[in-house]
Symmetry: C2
Subunit: 102 residues, 2 copies
DNA sequence: ACACCTAGTTACGAAAAGTAAGTTGATGCT
DNA sequence: AGCATCAACTTACTTTTCGTAACTAGGTGT
């Protein structure tokens, strides 16, 4: 790595959000709490990566995980306040894609 | 790949914007036209990847490339209208990072 | 002829992603 | 008891992408 003049906070944010699938997972969670399998079927992402990304997002405090000890077990993921604060950014990307992607 | 219920335009947008460095490169270009070496020194990205990303962005019509046949040659990259239309989204991410990333 | 400058490209080992099969723990079925 | 089922992961393995550093091309200046 080299020195860079860019703002470290933005760089760190993009290190998280710039990973494959991350933003689409968050977009999906804007709909409300969802279980592992729901997210997996909504997106073309594999269980392996989904699991990895959700852990990263949890670690960053963007997403939380709640286990319901039913049978079979149910696990729900949902946005924290930090995660909900990303809605504006995600909606802007959504708008852009509607206008500019054919 | 599996079937997914997510909007294909957003998915395609994220396929571009979700790649490593892409958004930071665009953020950098919000400052105005810049040469290859300027972008390279502003970001911790290598020439190899910068070249690859700029080609992708050019192909998608987000960025344009202008060659000045001076000595030595000068090449400038700048945002098209499609690229400038991303400013809102990028600024939202920037705001989020200022508020939520320590 | 040789060094220098920008703007790349190439080669190659390392890390991340994609795919598919396997694991865990609590049932219910026969 | 033994086996199948279900969600939510996890492992093993192949393919793609990344990171680093060295190299190339075209046009000077010395």
């Amino acid at each position: 790595m080299k020195e860079s003049t860019i703002c470290p906070r933005l760089a760190k944010a993009m290190e998280l959000l710039g990973k494959r699938w991350t933003t689409l997972i968050l977009y999906q969670l804007l709909e409300g709490p969802q279980r592992f399998n729901e997210i997996e079927s909504a997106l073309p992402v594999s269980g392996r990566l989904l699991s990895e990304r959700l852990k990263e997002l949890e670690k960053e405090g963007v997403v939380e995980r709640k286990v319901y000890t039913e049978v079979p077990v149910r696990v729900e993921y949902f946005l924290t306040d930090k995660g909900k604060a990303l809605e504006g950014a995600i909606r802007e990307v959504e708008k852009w894609s509607q206008c500019w992607i054919k």
